[in-house]
Amino acid sequence: MNDALLGGFVDAAVQSSHAFRAALSVLSQPGNIRDLSGAVPPAPLSVAAGVLLLTLCDGTTPLHLAGAFDCAPVRDWITFHCGAPLVSAEAAVFALGDWQALQPLGQFAIGLPDYPDRAATLIVEMPALEAKGAVLRGPGIADVAYLSLPEVAAFQANRALFPLGFDCFFTCGTKVAALPRSTYVEAV
């Protein structure tokens, strides 16, 4: 029996709807942290990252696995549960890995002036995720918000590309937060 066949959604329609709502919430309110549950993905994938993959990825969303996440258990699990084609960073619509493994960021699609939506969404696995650290300002934030980003400069450079640029989810255990390309980031 192959473990890759286990750990998917039990009630896909309801669970993916809840997860999608949570993903939209954190993306539209940068700095907000929510919990995701319902998937039991193989290590080293976090529950939150597994739920995001089940919710956002299918056969039409090429996925790039970076570093330690590009391993047989993760590949097999994704193949069965999402069907997303696994591709190089340049061809990715979604990319998954820790911050180090996702470098250099220049390899990811940032969209086209006519189609800014053709940009990559990065799912960054984090050792910790807290509402403190870098200062966030911009759409979806009343005044300021804080998020423990892995760095600041990369997101400032990404904001400068707006309306182009990549978008990020950050996951740690069951927690998820996000940073869209529209957010201004400053160091504390």
């Binding site: 029996m1 192959n2 890759a4 066949l5 286990l6 047989a72 590949r75 696994l86």
Partner: protein
Amino acid sequence: MTQTPLEAATPCSETLAARKAWMGLLARAKPARLADLCPEIPTHDLLRAPEIGAVMVRGRIGGNGLPFNLGEMTVTRCALRLGSGAVGHAHVQGRDKGHAVRAAVVDALMQTDQAEALRAAVLAPLQAEEIARRTSRAAKAAATKVEFFTLVRGEDQ
């Protein structure tokens, strides 16, 4: 970074051909007929709950050239595991979840020692009925085949 199949050992080509044959037969079966032949569904764990979706059907330009998208068809898929540990997969035409579950159950059982009994009870009747249906269509088509008579024309005499 290639995707590897989850079936641990690559089965020999004969086993593979046999499995492809029964999976195709089950996919093409009429849901009601499969339910008649296979009324009991053994207890199982769903690995992928029956899901209705669409598959984009492709054709080839000129019949043999580059692929193009012809349109979608409805397909229901399911994956499950029986108590014995046998895993069954199904992708079946249409929107009948019971059809997909039964096809996956039969796929799983066909990999166990119940295979021969199941072949006689389910697969053989399905196959016989499919052959009868196809033969009947082909026989009607054959009756509409044109037999040309060549007329002797005046100038040839």
